[in-house]
């Protein structure tokens, strides 16, 4: 099981719109991510990076080609299957998307509560631990409005990682952060990958992140045009 890829796409194509307005966004994407790898997806705006993320993240239906996520075929998967698979993933968005009326700890608990049967006390303990890992042990009871931008993004990272996801999908997670905060967030993702075997697929334009990647994929006009192995 440990040798099986977390993601394996074969000749993955995707279109947006219909009729005359139908436009192909991805062309024959072949992508394989091994367990524990840290992959950066680069490319200009409109190159298809986000489309790849949403397809492998079960947020869009696969239209053509094959996409295996954790060994399950996404092409033809039901909505219930996609929801179940999403629970095994961690999402980090460009905006933190924290719930304004929940404290930092409660926001992180939401990452655990999606799994039925997690005891309340255990969830709280795990949330506090996760916040400690991102350096926010003293901010557990703070509402997002009382946290800085970097702190909010770190809470979002803790929320994505608290349930030990098999795969973390991150879209420009450092875009709104200063240099130090950005380095902290990326180092944290990298460390967690190494410690827990979490696979990370990260979309970015940020050159500060590239030297932390095991592999850099460059997309242009919906095609992977360059693969750079760093590991």
């Amino acid at each position: 099981m440990s040798d099986a890829p977390i993601i394996a796409t074969t000749r993955l194509n995707h279109w947006f719109g219909s009729g005359d307005a139908r436009k192909q966004a991805l062309f024959d994407i072949d992508l394989t991510l091994q367990r524990g790898s840290f992959t950066v997806l680069m490319g200009p705006s409109g190159s298809g990076k986000t489309t790849v993320l949403t397809l492998v993240g079960c947020l869009r239906a696969v239209q053509d080609g094959s996409a295996l996520l954790l060994g399950q075929e996404l092409n033809g998967a039901t909505e219930a299957m996609l929801i179940a698979l999403r629970r095994k993933l961690g999402f980090i968005f460009q905006a933190h998307n924290l719930h304004e009326s929940l404290t930092a700890a409660q926001n992180v608990i939401m990452g655990l509560q999606v799994h039925p049967g997690v005891p309340e006390a255990a969830a709280e303990q795990a949330a506090v631990h996760a916040l400690g890992l991102v350096g926010l042990a003293d901010r557990t009871g703070y509402l997002p409005a009382n946290l800085s931008g970097g702190q909010k993004q770190r809470v979002a990272v803790a929320r994505a990682l608290v349930a030990n996801p098999a795969l973390v999908l991150a879209d420009e997670p450092t875009a709104a952060l200063d240099k130090d905060s950005a380095a902290d967030v990326v180092d944290l993702l990298k460390r967690m990958g190494q410690a827990r075997g979490t696979t990370t697929l990260l979309v970015t334009h940020d050159p500060r992140i590239l030297d932390r990647a095991d592999r850099i994929l460059t997309l242009e006009d919906g095609r992977i045009v360059k693969v750079e192995e760093r590991g």
Binding site: T54, I83, R86, F91, F93, Q94, A95, Q113, V114
Partner: protein, 390 residues
């Protein structure tokens, strides 16, 4: 509350936390729900009081059957009944007694406030047709121009009413005659008059010279113990040659009057619509609050969707909010509604009260309609597409 909801739903009480995060909006939402509750309470209170006020005069009399004119939908409405039908009804072996009942409105011009009494003319010798409270004083009506007055009548001070006794009667002018009240009974203001007055049929005819002793408004009949009113009524219908007459049990007559007042009289229909409008206002308020709340949190909901939360989870949040608004809005609504009904009852002397049935049914209705609003509001969640977050 947070602890309670956490135990109830087995998760973070996100709905409660969302609602209380913006306290001003939360207070406004609760005020809206409370307002809708007050609207419903007041309208229901008036409707109920109309029912109680309609049935109240029926409680003054004791009868098994009532014969009325075909167009007599209420005690004081419709044409007269020929006395001959009373005599004919008495021929039935199960009919033991009969009495003509006269009804008319009598104005009492007072310096402070003019009072209109719904006046009943009865045979004082037939005390068995009167309620126990009134029957005890029926003999007083044998005296010409004697009256029994409603001590709860609107415009009659309680002290003045309490002073009315056979030893200290109250004389007053009406219809060009001087009547003397020797005793009182408990009636109460209604929608058609300020109170009630009982006089003998002879005094009634003196007050209304145009009326004839041969044409009372209704005929009350008492039956032999054990007789079946429905069977006697059927027999009388074959006996009486006027097919337009209504021959009903006394209890049925009261209920038909009530239905008539509630469904066919403009006041009943208006109050019924008032209740409906109150319910609709509540529905719209809760829907507006919840749908605005959903719209304000679409991004967070989309994030939860991306994390793997399903439709039941979101429905649960919105229903949790609906429950909180329904319960917390009901409490001030109940308090204010009770206060308003009490105040209105004191001013109008109508039987306006907050009954446990009203409180429970409005509470259940509030919860039901809040949940309905919440369910409708979840339709806006379809707009929360997690793919748009990237």
């Amino acid at each position: 509350m947070s602890w309670l909801l956490r135990r109830l739903f087995g998760r973070l009480p996100i709905g409660w936390l969302q609602l209380t995060h913006n306290r001003t909006r939360f207070a406004a939402a609760l005020a809206g729900v409370a307002f809708a509750n007050v609207l419903v309470f007041v309208q229901l209170g008036i409707m109920n009081s109309m029912g109680a006020a309609t049935l109240r005069p029926y409680e003054f009399f004791q009868a098994d059957l009532m014969i009325s004119a075909g167009d007599a939908n209420a005690l004081n409405e419709g044409g007269n009944v020929a006395r001959q039908w009373l005599l004919q009804a008495m021929a039935d072996p199960d009919v033991t007694d009969g009495m003509g009942l006269f009804v008319g409105n009598v104005p009492w011009d007072r310096a402070t406030k003019d009072i209109t009494f719904t006046t009943f003319g009865v045979d004082p010798a037939q005390a068995a047709f009167l309620s126990p409270e009134i029957a005890g004083d029926a003999a007083l009506l044998q005296v010409q121009d004697a009256a029994l007055l409603d001590r709860l009548a609107r415009g009659l001070s309680r002290d003045e009413a309490a002073a009315i006794r056979p030893q200290s009667p109250l004389a007053f002018e009406t219809q060009g005659r001087t009547l003397t009240a020797f005793a009182t009974f408990a009636g109460g203001g209604g929608f058609g008059g300020d109170g009630y007055m009982l006089v003998s049929d002879q005094t009634f005819l003196a007050l209304f010279p145009a009326r004839s002793s041969n044409a009372p408004d209704h005929i009350l009949l008492r039956l032999r113990p054990g007789a079946n009113p429905a069977q006697v009524s059927t027999r009388l219908k074959t006996l009486v040659s006027d097919p337009s007459l209504r021959i009903r049990s006394y209890a049925d007559a009261a209920q038909e009057d009530l239905r008539y007042q509630q469904t066919r009289r403009p006041t009943g229909v208006i109050f019924g619509f008032g209740v409906l409008i109150g319910v609709l206002v509540g529905l719209v308020i809760v829907y507006q609050v919840l749908s605005t709340d959903v719209a304000d949190h679409l991004r967070e909901y989309a994030t939860f969707k991306a994390m793997g939360y399903g439709p039941q989870f979101f429905l649960g949040i919105v229903l949790e909010e609906a429950l909180v608004l329904g319960i917390m809005g009901f409490i001030p609504g109940l308090i204010v509604g009770t206060a308003i009904l009490t105040l209105m009852a004191a001013i109008t002397t109508l039987p306006l009260t907050m009954t446990p049935f009203m409180a429970v049914s409005v509470f259940l209705g509030t919860i039901l309609f809040s949940a309905l609003s919440g369910t409708i509001a979840t339709r806006r969640l379809a707009a929360a597409d997690p793919a748009d977050l990237f």
